[in-house]
Each structure stands twice: as C-alpha cells, then as structure tokens.
C-alpha cells in the first residue's frame, strides 16, 4: 500500500545565512501509512516540533522532500494548501491561538477557510465538539471563559473539524492534570477510530506512547535515531537513557527483575506486566 506521507532526506536549517544559523533536522527519512498511530519522542530541542511543521507545509525543507500520497507538497501552491487541510497540526499549548467570540465560531475557523458550505461547517463543528466532549451549551460561550483544559479541547476540536486524514499533535497533554490527560488521549483515540485517521503524537510520556502507539520515531540531536515498534525501541534502554530519554517505569522494573534472574519477557504496559506476572504464578503453581 502506498504510504500517505513520505519524508525523504529531509533537512532543515533555521535562520540560514545569519550568525544564528541552526540545523534543526538532519537528513531524515521515513514513511507514514494509513491508520498508523505514531509516537515521536526526543529530548528537548531535538527537532520534534520542527519536523511536525514540515509535514503540513508550514516550514519549507532546506533540502529533501515531503510527499503526500506520492506528490511533493511544495511542487505547486494548491498542493501546499491542500496539505494544510489534509494534515492537521495541533501546536504545543494550542489554547493560546483561540480568538473568536464563541467556541462555535473558533472551531468553525478551519472549515470556513476550506470554503465549505454552511451546513457542512455546522455538521463538522458539532461533530468535532462531540469528539472532544464539549456540550452544545459550551459552544455558545466565549472560549476565554473556559478552563485551561477545556480551552485545549476547543483548540483540538478546531483542527479535528477540518477532518484531516493525518492528525498531528505536539505534546497535547502538556501541563494537564491526570484526568485531563486521560480525557484528551481518549478524544484522540475516538477520532482515530471514527475516521480511520492516521495519528502522530509528540509526547514526553513514555507510558502514554507505549500504551497507545504502534510505532515510535526517536529524534536525537536533529537526527532520526530509531524507528520501530515500542517493543523494539524500548529494548534499547541504555541508548535511550544516553539520549536523555527514559523507558516506561514498568519496563524498568521488569528489566531489573530479569537482571535478578527471574525469567520474564520485556513488557511496556501495565497490561502486559499483569499478564507476565500471572504466567509466572501459573508456572510456579504447576511446579
């Protein structure tokens, strides 16, 4: 199957030709397939946000290409604009971009820019609000009267309302309490299931990416350091620690158990841990 997004030898340099020149991405290649849930992890400043902005044509690569269904998004203006709509990007702390008088109108901003009909816009706004758990009454209030977590959900709905095939979220749970985090992650999951969308999520929580994603991209010092399933990536515990990252706590516990001589396999989520422990107990009972 043809990948929906393909990134080939992509490099990006900020402020090129000035004393402040900075190479933020260095020769990165990978492909994204339909329906995947990809996690992007990396130390602060490793280039995660920069990479995300390449994928919907906000930043133009210094060299290399970004292909959307096989077509270079920079080959003509129309395609670049299409990429903005088909690849939705939710920025870090998106609540600071709200500007309209009502939540409804703010969510409608994206669909309106797409030039959709009034009925279609209305349908999308209500559906997007549903995905993030906003009530019909909340649609009519000012976004500035909402709490931080609710504002975040309005901002995410604003991107979801464009019904992007690829939804990219840059640290969507940063600065939220545990319940707020779980709710947002649930919202993303429900959008993915309803639209069979592709999700890419930047996160600093190893637990979250281990539990939710099918695949992890690890960025380190502007380069793509690893690309594989969470199971594959988390076996390189030491390398990850060297990059300033960590592995899920439960994985650490199990690695330690193995060192102590217990015959367990590597696990990444609490669910797997429970299963593994049950197996041992079962084995012990038989013996």
């Amino acid at each position: 199957m043809e990948p929906i997004l393909e990134i080939k030898n992509l490099s990006y340099i900020y402020s090129i030709g000035t004393p402040f020149e900075h190479k933020a991405l260095d020769n990165i290649s990978f492909a994204v397939h339909r329906g995947e849930f990809i996690g992007i992890i990396g130390h602060t400043g490793s280039g995660k946000s920069t990479l995300m902005q390449q994928l919907n044509g906000l930043l133009k690569p210094t060299s290399g290409t970004v292909l959307l269904e096989g077509k270079d998004i920079w080959s003509d203006k129309q395609l670049t604009r299409q990429a903005r709509f088909r690849v939705g990007l939710v920025f870090q702390y998106p609540e600071y971009q709200l500007f309209e008088e009502t939540v409804y109108r703010d969510i409608a901003f994206g669909p309106k820019n797409m030039g959709l009909s009034a009925e279609e816009i209305d349908r999308r706004v209500r559906e997007a609000a549903g995905f993030v758990g906003l009530t019909a009454e909340q649609l009519e209030v000012s976004p500035f009267d909402l709490s931080g977590g609710q504002k975040r959900r309005v901002a995410i709905a604003g991107v979801i309302a464009m019904e992007p095939e690829v939804l990219i979220l840059d640290e969507p749970t940063a600065g939220l309490d545990p319940i707020g985090r779980a709710e947002i992650l649930g919202n993303i999951e429900s959008y993915r299931r309803a639209k069979n969308a592709t999700i890419m999520m930047v996160s600093h929580s190893m637990e979250d990416v281990a539990r939710l994603t099918d695949r992890l991209l690890v960025l380190n010092g502007s380069k793509l350091a690893m690309d594989g399933t969470p199971a594959e990536v988390f076996t390189h515990a030491e390398e990850l620690v060297d990059m300033g990252l960590s592995i899920p706590e439960v994985t650490q516990v199990f690695l330690h158990l193995r060192k102590l001589g217990l015959d367990v396999e590597n696990v990444y989520t609490i669910g797997q841990a429970v299963a593994a422990l049950k197996k041992i107990r079962g084995g012990a009972a038989h013996a």
């Binding site: 500007f99 901003f109 991107v159």
Partner: protein, 268 residues
C-alpha cells in the same frame, strides 16, 4: 521569518566599543550626528566616513550585519534621493525632459543627502549593536537624571523602556507561533483584497494582545512579590563609571567635530 529582523539588535562582543560606557556612546552619537549636519563638503564627508569605518572596524561588528539592517530603509533612502534630485537647479543641466530638469547640483545634493542618511543610520546601528538594551536604558536614565528635578519620572520611563525592549523578541516569537498555528487552520495572510488581509490579522492580533496582557500581569505580580519600588533611594548593582577609554573617545569625537568645523571655515 520575522525573527531575522535585525533593526536595533544587540550583537554581544568584547571590543573596545562594546566596553565603552553607554553614556559615552550616547553622547558620541549625538556629537556625531551634529557633526554630520555641520559637514557641508565632500572633504568633510570623507573625514566622517573614515571615522565611521574605523569605528566599525574596531567594534568587530560584521559589515554584513549593518547592510542587512539597512534593507527595510531602502525605500526611505531612495525617496530622499529622488526628492533631492529636483531640489537644486544649480550647475550644468544633465537631463531636461518635459517639466523635469536634473542638474549636476541636484545630483550632488541627492548623493550628499543619501550619504548623510546612510552614515546617520550606520552610526545609530553601531550604538544599538554594541550596547545591550539594559546598558542603553541605564545610560539614558543617568544622562536624563537632571530632569528629575523637573519632576520628570526618569526612572519609571527608563524601566518602561527596558521592559519594552526586553519583550520585543518575545512578542516576535509569539507572533510567529500564532501565525503558524492559524496557518495550520488554513488562514491566508498573503492573498485577497486589502480588506481581506486586514481581516486576516484578527486571528493573530487577538491572541497576541491577550498573551501580552497576561505577560504584563505576571511580570507586575512577580515585581510586586519582590517588593519592587522604583525611583527614590533605589541603588544599582552595576554602577556606571567613566574609564580611561571613555575620555579617549571624547577626545577623538571632539577632534572630529573640530576638524569638520575648521574644514568648513576653509570652504572644504
């Protein structure tokens, strides 16, 4: 990218010029500008230019940076040049076309005005490139100190300027971020009629103002928490002192003005 604007940006360094007292540099800039306006002939312009080039050289500021800073001012420069071209009708006629007459006097006057503006701007760039905004406001506050007697709130004004300067890069960065976020939702700032484009600014300006007010609020709270109180009785951690180099600078500056005046006397 908005960030690449260098107008009035500080270039950290350790040159002699960087280390001069900010008051010295401010006074020297004023002296330099006065000298520029006293200079009436090409000989005195050449002297001023030589002085400027020498200062740029010892300041270790890359000339490229100065040229880049000029870019936004090209229009003003051209406009002045063209306007002055027709101001003077002395000398030999070079071009005569319909009601337009260009003479050698006009050309020389236009060239001189453009040189004056270029040198004036370069001089001010040298000040802002070699002096950190904090040092600059400190210097201004100290120079304007006597105005306190006239009940001018000098310290408060300096503090306001200092805060404003401090937040310019932050606000530019913030604008960049908000613009990207709205572009990701399909906002279009480049196409459409003037009206459309003005309207397209709303999604940027509203969040920008909200965040500026929020920052101002936070800063005020943080200052109050540290019992900030301006003006009377407040001392500085870094006191300004004139050093040997400052007196040298005053000497050289004085000599340049004197030379320009003397040259003027001889009609050069």
């Amino acid at each position: 990218m908005l960030k690449d604007i260098t107008l009035g940006q500080y270039f950290p360094g350790h040159s002699v010029i960087h280390r001069l007292d900010p008051r010295t540099k401010l006074i020297m800039l004023v002296v330099y500008i006065v000298a520029l306006f006293l200079a009436k002939t090409w000989v005195s312009y050449a002297l001023m230019l030589a002085f400027l080039v020498w200062v740029i050289q010892i300041s270790t500021i890359p000339p490229k940076a100065i040229v880049r800073g000029m870019k936004p001012l090209v229009m003003i420069l051209l406009f002045t040049g063209i306007l002055n071209l027709f101001f003077s009708q002395d000398g030999r006629v070079l071009v005569h076309f319909w009601i337009i007459t260009v003479t050698t006097g006009g050309v020389s006057r236009a060239a001189m005005m453009m040189a004056r503006i270029l040198m004036l701007i370069t001089g001010s760039f040298l000040l802002t490139y070699t002096t950190s905004p904090i040092a600059l406001t400190d210097g201004l506050e100290s120079l304007m100190g006597p105005l306190k007697k006239l009940k001018v709130p000098v310290h408060e004004l300096a503090m306001m300027m200092c805060i404003a300067l401090r937040f310019i890069p932050t606000l530019i960065e913030e604008t960049d971020k908000i613009m990207s976020a709205q572009k990701a939702r399909g906002a279009d700032f480049e196409n459409g009629s003037l009206m459309d484009r003005a309207k397209a600014l709303i999604p940027i300006l509203v969040p920008l103002f909200i965040s500026a007010f929020r920052r101002a609020d936070e800063l005020a709270t943080a200052m109050e928490c540290r019992c900030y109180q301006g003006g009377e009785g407040r001392t500085k951690m870094k006191q300004l002192h004139y050093h040997r180099n400052d007196f040298f600078a005053f000497g050289i500056g004085g000599a340049v003005v004197l030379a320009v005046v003397v040259l003027g006397q001889f009609g050069l």
